[in-house]
Assembly symmetry: C2
Homo-oligomer: 162 residues x 2
DNA sequence: TTAGGTGCAAATTCTTTGCACCCTG
DNA sequence: CAGGGTGCAAAGAATTTGCACCTAA
């Protein structure tokens, strides 16, 4: 697994660099939380990350894990699966369709595309399972948010500027 | 908006039919909750659906909205955006990549595809906003869950069979 | 040294559940 | 009329926050 280790090392190095340039302290806890997310390929939730880190840092608390995860997210070092910091949302459109998602405000709108009907999936996917349908998520900034321009930077940046 | 109205009517009809065949009672509340989700194109959360329905059915309670939404989801009449009934999950992979998601257990694994690098988006998306990146979600049943076969039907079916 | 970071515990927020009455089939 | 469905209130889960002590820079 030489390749994977190198990948992790690269992520750790990037993490440390971003923390330094953003003026965020490199604590033991933060390194372990980031490492846990970086090493695991299963996209764990906060609780699961907490359990993993606790084996190495028994004093770690769950609230620090949460604080750290959102910090990392604000720094652009990690992302969330699905809507971030939002409640579950529902969709009554059963037709095959795709979503445009605004990464700033969460606006989500359907769009259709015949071209996306039969995307050719790589063979690597066969070992994971049988795919029943594919769905494309186009992420960007919606028209409304774009109007507001650079009104606000990232939360992390705001904090730093104090 | 002739076309849209027809689409909604079709969804309502399908909803009523499924309820009948599944032996689920067609209550005023359920119809209004389903209609609210069907009519709105913004994929609302439970609270928002609650507010919308309450204007027509002032006695509606939030817990009924939740119960109804999960029932509709079990019946396959609606779906959720992102992970269903799950906590937020994190991803440290910053490289452009895609996900295979098991709709049964939630297992999520990365996969890569050069072909998906530059999907041609329909022009209809331009009015929504500026797309920065696209991400493909391949949904299906993972190898592990497939082994377990038809061990369990849908929750709705289970309920019905009592 | 010192401002930011952490752990603890309490507070919030979101969602689910028990129960008695109500309404669809 | 019977059994599922609903509203209410209270419980539970997940996540956030206030505060005093701790530690990286």
């Amino acid at each position: 697994m030489k390749h994977e280790d190198r990948e992790i090392d690269g992520r750790m190095a990037h993490f440390e660099e971003v923390c330094r340039t953003e003026g965020v302290k490199l604590t033991h806890q933060r390194m372990e939380v980031f490492r846990e997310v970086a090493v695991r390929g299963d996209h764990p939730d906060a609780e699961s990350i907490y359990e993993g880190v606790r084996q190495r840092v028994p004093t770690m608390s769950l609230d620090t894990v949460y604080r750290t995860l959102w910090l990392l997210s604000d720094l652009g070092l990690i992302t969330t699966l699905g809507p971030s910091r939002e409640r579950t949302r529902f969709d009554a459109n059963l037709q095959p369709h795709h979503h445009f998602v605004c990464v700033r405000c969460g606006l989500t709108r359907d769009f259709h595309s015949d071209a996306f009907g039969d995307l050719k999936l790589p063979k690597s996917i066969e070992s994971m399972g049988r795919v029943e349908r594919t769905h494309v998520e186009a992420r960007g900034i919606c028209t409304e948010c774009a109007k507001k321009k650079t009104e606000i930077g990232t939360i992390a940046t705001k904090k730093k500027k104090k």
